[in-house]
């Protein structure tokens, strides 16, 4: 069954997939902020993580504590196969629907 996701959910899944083994709260937040040039609130991040976990699109667990985090543990994240499928579907939909529109053509001219 096709699992529909929203824009922010897609951003979060993509950031987590890109970070791979190093995907956890703060790193994902930084990745999203870097890509969107917008502030990502911790509230939005953690509630979306929960929602995606409930949908079975990712899995989270408490990782190790590090000194740079003041000895606090990380909430580690891994995208599940179902999550990869949902993100792929979202990406394909955006790509399909964008075909032939002005900004799509501009993007090709401007660069990758």
């Amino acid at each position: 069954m096709l699992m529909t996701i929203g824009e922010f959910e897609y951003l979060l899944l993509t950031a987590a997939a890109r970070l791979g083994e190093e995907a956890y709260g703060a790193a994902i937040r930084q990745e999203i902020q870097g890509a969107t040039k917008r502030r990502c609130s911790i509230g939005a991040l953690y509630t979306t993580l929960d929602r995606l976990e409930t949908k079975g699109l990712l899995k989270t667990w408490m990782g190790d504590a590090t000194p740079q985090r003041g000895g606090r543990a990380k909430r580690m994240v891994r995208v599940t196969a179902k999550g990869i499928q949902a993100a792929t579907d979202f990406y394909n939909t955006v790509t399909r629907v964008s075909r032939g529109v002005t900004w799509e053509a501009n993007r090709r001219m401007v660069g990758p």
Binding site: G25, I42, G43, K74
Partner: protein, 288 residues
């Protein structure tokens, strides 16, 4: 620790322990300022609390426990504080050691002290039970329901009940009885004593009960049934305190033909006290 950082710590208690740990770590790692951390935390706490209210339990606690128990406890606390103020005034302000030689006085004194102590114990148990039920039903929404409960307790205690409601509940108050005017002429018995009773025997046990209700682990079914039955009994006796029967009995009016209700209040302390003792002894046993 700066006051702002302390505030961040306090707000973060709304979160589950694992989430609190991760969020604090994220703040430390990204070097978030206290102001931004607080804003972020408030946003997260708000989202979490909003999500909790999609469940029926916090609503049941709010509508079924916060207002009714809060109002009843405040009224009963006021009444008990005033009746014990009269007893206390009678003995403390009129004490004479020569009375002690009199057997009748000694018996009366022992009886009155026992009544006051039992009433205080009963009030604490009701308060603890109200908090316990509230904590159990609300779970993480206790931050809102608990604050509202305390607000009801404080408001009713400080501002009193609206006159029409006070009359409809037929609440008798010792300070409205002219024979007690001397007791309540002074500010101590009129204002301070009820406030002490309200704080020590209502507010604190309620908060303690909320804490224990939140932590209630899964109990075997027979124990669970016993616990809830005794808590239901405690709440029933609390509700009965403001009934018309109580009014008739207290004021020694010639009672009309009303059904005789058994005085169940002594049984109301069994459940809460039993649970408190069992958990305290159990915890000590586990520590050893």
């Amino acid at each position: 620790m700066t006051p702002m950082r302390r505030l961040v710590d306090i707000v973060s208690r709304v979160l589950e322990p694992d989430e609190r740990e991760a969020v604090h770590g994220d703040f430390a790692e990204s070097g978030e300022t206290s102001g931004r951390a607080l804003r972020g935390l408030l946003g997260l706490a708000l989202r979490r609390q909003t999500a909790l209210w999609r469940n029926w339990r916090p609503w049941l606690a709010l509508l079924g426990a916060v207002a009714p128990f809060g109002i009843l406890l405040s009224l009963v606390s006021k009444r008990m504080a005033q009746s014990s103020a009269v007893t206390s005034w009678l003995y403390l302000n009129n004490w004479d050691w020569t009375y002690v030689r009199n057997t009748g006085f000694r018996l009366d004194f022992a009886h009155d002290v026992a009544v006051v102590l039992f009433e205080f114990l009963l009030l604490s148990c009701w308060s603890w039970t109200s908090g316990f039920v509230l904590g159990y039903l609300s779970r993480r929404a206790i931050w809102i329901n608990g604050a509202l409960f305390c607000l009801v307790l404080v408001t009713v205690d400080l501002l009193g009940m609206p006159r029409f409601l006070g009359r409809s509940l037929l609440l008798s108050r010792a300070d409205t009885f002219s024979a007690n005017a001397a007791v309540f002429a002074g500010a101590f018995y009129r204002e301070v004593f009820p406030l002490i009773v309200h704080t020590v025997l209502v507010l604190l046990p309620s908060l303690w009960g909320m804490r224990q209700g939140l932590r209630l682990a899964a109990l075997p079914l027979p124990l669970q049934t016993m616990l809830w039955a005794s808590l239901a009994l405690a709440m029933t006796t609390l509700a009965m305190q403001n009934s018309v029967w109580w009014q008739v009995r207290t004021w020694n009016n010639q009672p009309p033909q009303l059904p005789h209700l058994p005085y169940l209040a002594p049984l109301a302390v069994i459940g809460p006290l039993g649970y408190i003792l069992a958990t305290t002894i159990g915890r000590r046993f586990v520590r050893r």
